[in-house]
């Protein structure tokens, strides 16, 4: 079977506008969550979020591009540019190799929906801008990046709520592994921090209005974030031949469906995805030194996730480190797995284990080493990234050093 490696990475998220800035924030345990600065925030109950701050779209895009790019597309393009740049690949090489792109997003152009509804419902305007449809569609980010880099191979968007990015990355991985293509761009992007986007989440009563504190006994819910991360995946021999700097190997992926409840997670479903990814990777349990948890900060997720990990890892659970970086960047919904993969690569490449910040009190239901509050230095060989979506759709990735 062909092996698949990561040769490029890029991001823009509440912790930074590049991989370097984000890695520094992970190492410092810095929080990117704060008071929301959005229209009509006074009519929201939830007023905190992980926003991308000091972001000036007009310094990145021209007028025509701005007319066509929703914020989630803008984030995806900025992340893709950095990923392509670090991979050192040219537009010609993408096109020659028949490269493609698979991106995850849950809300797509939600800001565009929100603005347009506002115009016709609230302001009683007679019409909306003609580009509303090409701007809001979920595949807009993937399409615009395909045009920029001449990605003529398999390209589409994936939408499985909070697992979207992991599903996208897993599919891109499988395409290279099975010989469909040699190079893929993949990752995810999300921008749901607008009045309608936050209002919808308020309804479920699972949001914290203070901070995201995964695995802490006094945790009180999730916090939304926004941003994107994009990776370049390549077939191992192809990457070696061109002398690429290999960041990590994607060695395993598994998906499972709880088929049980539309919002409540299932330990059995999560455990099946975790053990499936380990099996697919072919590595031993105790090779996994670090797991980037789904760790949303809700009572039920964190308890269920820890219990599923214990079940699969058994005694090996005692020695592994588990952290939720959502405590720092918030829950990027469809983009979250992509940003969290950056923490896995940081752990493999630089031995820096990003912490779970805001952790105040031990919870016996989450009795694993959750790397509370401060980053750690540790040499590890393999990492895992969990994503367990609403709707019970789970996607787990395994990376290892190379």
């Amino acid at each position: 079977m062909r092996r698949v490696v990561i040769t490029g990475q890029g991001t823009i998220n509440p912790l930074g506008k590049s991989v370097t800035e984000t890695s520094a924030a992970f190492a410092d345990g810095r929080c990117g969550i704060g008071e929301l600065d959005i229209r009509d925030v006074d009519r929201l109950t939830v007023k905190v979020g992980g926003q991308v701050r000091n972001f000036e779209p007009d310094s990145h895009f021209d007028r025509q591009e701005l007319a066509l790019y929703d914020r989630f597309t803008q984030f995806a393009i900025i992340a893709a540019d950095e990923a392509v740049d670090t991979a050192g690949l040219s537009r010609d090489e993408f096109s020659r190799s028949g490269a493609g792109i698979v991106l995850g997003t849950a809300g797509g152009g939600l800001n565009t929906w929100d603005d347009s509804y506002r115009k016709v419902y609230e302001e009683k305007k007679r019409r909306v801008h003609p580009f509303v449809v090409p701007k809001l569609m979920n595949n807009a980010a993937a399409s615009n990046i395909s045009m920029k880099y001449d990605l003529i191979g398999p390209s589409f968007s994936v939408s499985t709520a909070c697992s979207s990015s992991n599903h996208a990355i897993g599919l891109a991985f499988q395409m290279i592994r099975t010989g469909m293509t040699d190079i893929m761009l993949t990752g995810g992007s999300e921008s749901t921090l607008c009045f309608g986007g936050v209002k919808a989440w308020e309804g479920l009563r699972v949001m914290s209005n203070t901070a995201c504190r995964p695995f802490c006994a006094t945790r009180n819910g999730m916090v939304q974030g926004e941003g994107a991360a994009v990776f370049v995946l390549e077939e191992f021999e192809y990457a070696k031949r061109r002398g690429a700097d290999i960041l990590a190997e994607v060695s395993g992926f598994a998906m499972s469906s709880d088929a049980q409840d539309i919002v409540n997670p299932s330990k059995v479903g999560a455990a099946r995805a975790i053990s499936g990814a380990l099996r697919d990777s072919g590595i031993a349990l105790d090779d996994i030194g670090y797991i980037n948890a789904h760790g949303t900060g809700t009572t039920v997720n964190d308890r269920t996730e820890c219990s599923a990990i214990r079940e699969v890892f058994g005694a090996a659970a005692e020695t592994l480190m588990l952290s939720s970086t959502k405590s720092m960047h918030g829950h990027l919904i469809g983009g979250t797995g992509a940003v969290e993969l950056l923490a896995c690569i940081l752990a493999l490449r630089h031995g820096i284990i990003a912490p779970t910040i805001n952790h105040l009190q031990f919870d016996p239901d989450c009795d694993l080493d959750v790397v509370p509050n401060e980053a750690r230095q540790a040499k590890i060989r393999a990492t895992m990234s969990n994503a367990f979506a609403f709707g019970g759709m789970n996607a787990v990735l395994v990376l290892r050093s190379i």
């Binding site: 007319a67 007679r126 019409r127 801008h129 003609p130 580009f131």
Partner: protein
Amino acid sequence: MDQAVAKRVIELIAEQALIDVDQVKLDSTPEELGIDSLALVESIFAIEESFDIQVPFNANEQHGSDFDISTVGTIIEAVADLVAQKGD
């Protein structure tokens, strides 16, 4: 020709084509000005917003519709008609 309408339509078209107003002639076709199909619907949107009118334009039947977009001149005439109807 309604000079006020003509001036405003030319400004909107020039803005859309990213060119100077002097480069927009009455006999210029949208194509000659570099206005592609997306830019054309955006121009019509700008015209509707600017004059507060509803333009009966369907990109699928450009030659059969009442709104003649063959040249800048025909567009101005069509806009002027719609503005006049609005006043009736």
